[in-house]
Amino acid sequence: MRIKKSRRELAEGDMTPMIDMTFQLIAFFMVLINFSQAEQDDKVRLPDSELARPPDAPLVDALTLHVRQSGLTVISNDEHDMEQLRKRMILEKQYTDDPKKVTIIIRGDKAVPTGKVQEVIRLCQDVGFELFALRAKERLNR
């Protein structure tokens, strides 16, 4: 009986589609990644609202304050109690040309007492700020 000689050939998979897909995935994540931490605070769970829609254009002069459930206020990852917040806001005021044109964005936790948020607003008013934006996340389905 004659035995067939097996031909030893290295089977090479076609890598091109996989690399194409991988690059597309990388491009997708690169476009969506957001390195900015100032606008986010993981400990704040925003209330939701059906009217909360992203603005057409980002606010030019804005300062974001995160009010956590504990009442602590966070600005650019720095935690402040009310006294520290007053000092910080006075400092922020000195950096701006006109505090009346700066919008204070308040990202309050949904369970924080309203009085805490109003204390923060009053403090900012005392310092000289008068435009406020209360931030909420978009409600997808009711």
Binding site: M15, F29, K110, E119, R135, L140
Partner: protein
Amino acid sequence: MKLRNSARHEGGNKIELQMTPMIDIVFQLLVFFVMTFKVAAMEGDFDIKMPAAAQGSPSFDNLPLKLTLRATPTGKLDEVRLGERTFSGLSYQDKFRKLQDQIVTQIGTDTGPGSARETAEIEIDADYNLQYEFVIEAMTAVTGRVDKEGNIQRLIEKVKFSPSSGGG
């Protein structure tokens, strides 16, 4: 005649591209992006203008509508009142729905310049311990509503907190 590709059979110089390091790097990049990716919900703002000088003095030319929100000891919503009118309901959504209907009745449907919708103002007086989400619910109810087509109909745009609001 000798064919050009015969060199292959003769063990000629064939340059092989090393794909392994590139794929390694590409996968590392992919893993980095996947790990750092955060799905963020879209966010929007309710704008309020509150100059400090307005405190303690009547700030509005027109008499503003006054919305009172009372809280239970645990911070949940207890009572919703517009002026002297109290809204009852099984859930807080019911109360805010009735509030919204009342707002629409009071300010009408005109949207032109100088209309009641454009000039109307509302002042929110909420208890100190009321959970903030109920204030946002109230602001949602008074500032607009979404129609069947998904478009936002604006109601009252000028909203402020009462100077006495949030006290003890």
